[in-house]
């Protein structure tokens, strides 16, 4: 499978995740988001940028718990409200959808 962005063919896996993480760009993110029916707004970008920064630092996607706490702190929300905020932005779940749009590898585990 694959997507085409600015005339370049970019390879994705069966679930739509980037095969080569260095293929990521803002345009690629927009394209990936469109495939998920998500219109990228400023709030979406802040989550995606957080994920990418975290991945740069630790070479792993953050646990949802870590992401939720970071968002809660950044926006002055409690954890429950932060969780609802995240699922409002990414209805299929921040772990699945936000990571995909941020060009991170597919999360593993039983969720």
């Amino acid at each position: 499978m694959g997507i085409e962005v600015n005339g370049l063919a970019i390879e994705t896996d069966d679930d739509g995740y980037l095969v080569n993480l260095e293929d990521w760009s803002k345009d690629v993110a927009d394209k990936l988001a469109a495939a998920e029916d998500i219109d990228m707004e400023e709030e979406h970008w802040s989550v995606v940028n957080f994920l990418r920064d975290y991945y740069d630092d630790y070479q792993i996607a953050p646990a949802v718990k870590v992401l939720t706490k970071a968002i809660a702190k950044e926006r002055g929300l409690d954890k429950k409200a932060a969780s609802e905020f995240l699922y409002g932005l990414f209805p299929s779940g921040p772990a699945l959808q936000a990571c995909k749009i941020a060009g991170l590898p597919k999360p593993t585990g039983c969720v």
């Binding site: 646990a63 949802v64 718990k65 969780s83 699922y87 209805p91 585990g109 039983c110 969720v111």
Partner: protein, 408 residues
């Protein structure tokens, strides 16, 4: 991959729908009912290729002594959990079972269904999925087994419109479980059904959006018989409890002895009391309630003569869990008695559970259950952290086996 006999021939053998599965057939030869028989009947009736593929794949697994399922990512909109994904690693060889996902559906409190809601559930499930149902998994869910990823959303939508909801999975609150409670059991010391419903409604977000260290389970048993096995399987076990003396109906004791004889009273009631709290008196029995450990044995044997005391409520045992990491743990008695009669009592429980989960979420490590966190950082730190006063009535672990002993 060798071309094992019986696998992957798409039902062309013998004019039957199913392929030969000689190794699975062996499971039907024992004295007990086999899941193989059920699978065959369902597959022959529904003619669903996915079921045939699953049987072929299981047969192939038995032949090669390997499992061929792997996980993946499937959810419905707004939910982060509830679908257990199974993709085949040998879909080229056995394409009929290339996907076989499970939908966890929350069961009602005490597992009380109306027959027409069950029929409705079966019809919806057979329309979108295989029709294969496990009632109930160890998680307490209705397990709808066998659906393709692209049919999950439509199936969920129809189930949801009929009042069903997905259960928990992953690192979040799991589906609640309660026993039959006062609806069908005379031993219930509180309303397990109401408490189950109210508490799980509070935690509904945490069920669908897992984001803690690991799973967290709540189970509600009406009495210390603990029919939901909460003490071994839940992070907070809510077990019905009485504070005063066991109620005794002297006439019913006489009637019991009349019917069953003194020998049985001595051998099966008095002698089996784990703390020797029962003695013979005036042709009947006397109970030393101060030494009773609420094992329930005498109440179970003489249900008309003996019943739980009048001052009823719950005991909360925390940190129970099944296998993995430090292994099986029974919960520790943290709250020996709490009234559970009003909405406020349930609210208080919810506040405490929130406090405990917050503490555990902040202090626990990844993949650490509540009991493991308590064991690692210490009981004192736990009690301080959640604001519970230590008391002499709390029991980390009993000194002696509190269960009645019997010969099997």
């Amino acid at each position: 991959m060798s071309d094992a006999k019986g696998a992957g021939s798409n039902g062309s053998g013998n004019g039957r729908f199913l392929n030969p599965t000689p190794m699975l057939d062996e499971l039907e030869s024992g004295p007990w009912p086999s899941f193989v028989t059920g699978l065959k009947e369902l597959a022959e009736r529904t003619k669903k290729p996915m079921l045939r593929g699953v049987m072929d794949q299981l047969e192939y697994s038995y032949q090669t002594r390997m499992g061929y399922w792997k996980g993946g990512l499937v959810t419905v909109k707004g939910y982060g959990a509830g679908i257990i994904t199974r993709y085949s690693m040998i879909r080229d060889k056995l394409p009929e079972a290339s996907e076989f996902h499970t939908m966890r559906i929350q069961a009602p409190p005490g597992l009380h269904y109306k027959t027409d809601t069950l029929r409705e559930l079966c019809d919806i499930w057979e329309k979108h999925g295989t029709g294969l149902i496990a009632l109930h998994g160890q998680t307490g869910d209705i397990m709808l087994q066998g659906i393709e990823a692209d049919k999950v959303q439509e199936c969920f939508d129809e189930l949801n419109q009929n009042g069903w909801d997905l259960g928990g999975a992953g690192a979040g609150m799991r589906t609640g479980v309660s026993c039959a409670g006062p609806a069908r059991c005379e031993q219930a010391c509180y309303d397990t059904l109401e408490m189950h419903e109210k508490v799980m409604k509070h935690f509904v977000g945490a069920v669908h959006r897992p984001e803690w260290n690991y799973k967290f389970k709540l189970k509600f048993s009406g009495c210390p018989n603990d029919c939901t096995n909460s003490i071994m399987r839940s992070d907070i076990a809510v077990i019905g409890m009485w504070k005063d003396s066991i109620q005794m109906d002297a006439d019913e004791v006489d009637a019991w002895v009349e019917k069953n004889g003194m020998e049985k009273l001595v051998n099966e009631v008095v002698n089996l009391c784990p703390t020797r709290a029962i003695s013979l008196k005036d042709g009947g029995i006397e109970i030393d309630n101060g030494n009773c450990v609420h094992c329930m044995h005498c109440l179970n044997v003489m249900p008309k003569a003996l019943s739980p005391g009048k001052e009823r409520g719950v005991a909360l045992l925390m940190g129970g869990k099944s296998t993995l990491k430090v292994g099986f743990n029974a919960g520790s008695m943290i709250v020996p008695f709490k009234k559970m009669e009003s909405e406020e009592d349930i609210e208080e429980f919810i506040d405490l559970a929130d406090e405990i989960i917050d503490w555990w979420d902040d202090n626990g490590l990844d993949h650490e259950r509540l009991g493991e966190t308590i064991e690692r950082v210490g009981m004192k730190q736990f009690l301080d952290g959640v604001g519970l006063e230590p008391s002499i009535d709390m029991v980390t672990k009993p000194r002696d086996n509190p269960y009645f002993k019997t010969k099997y």
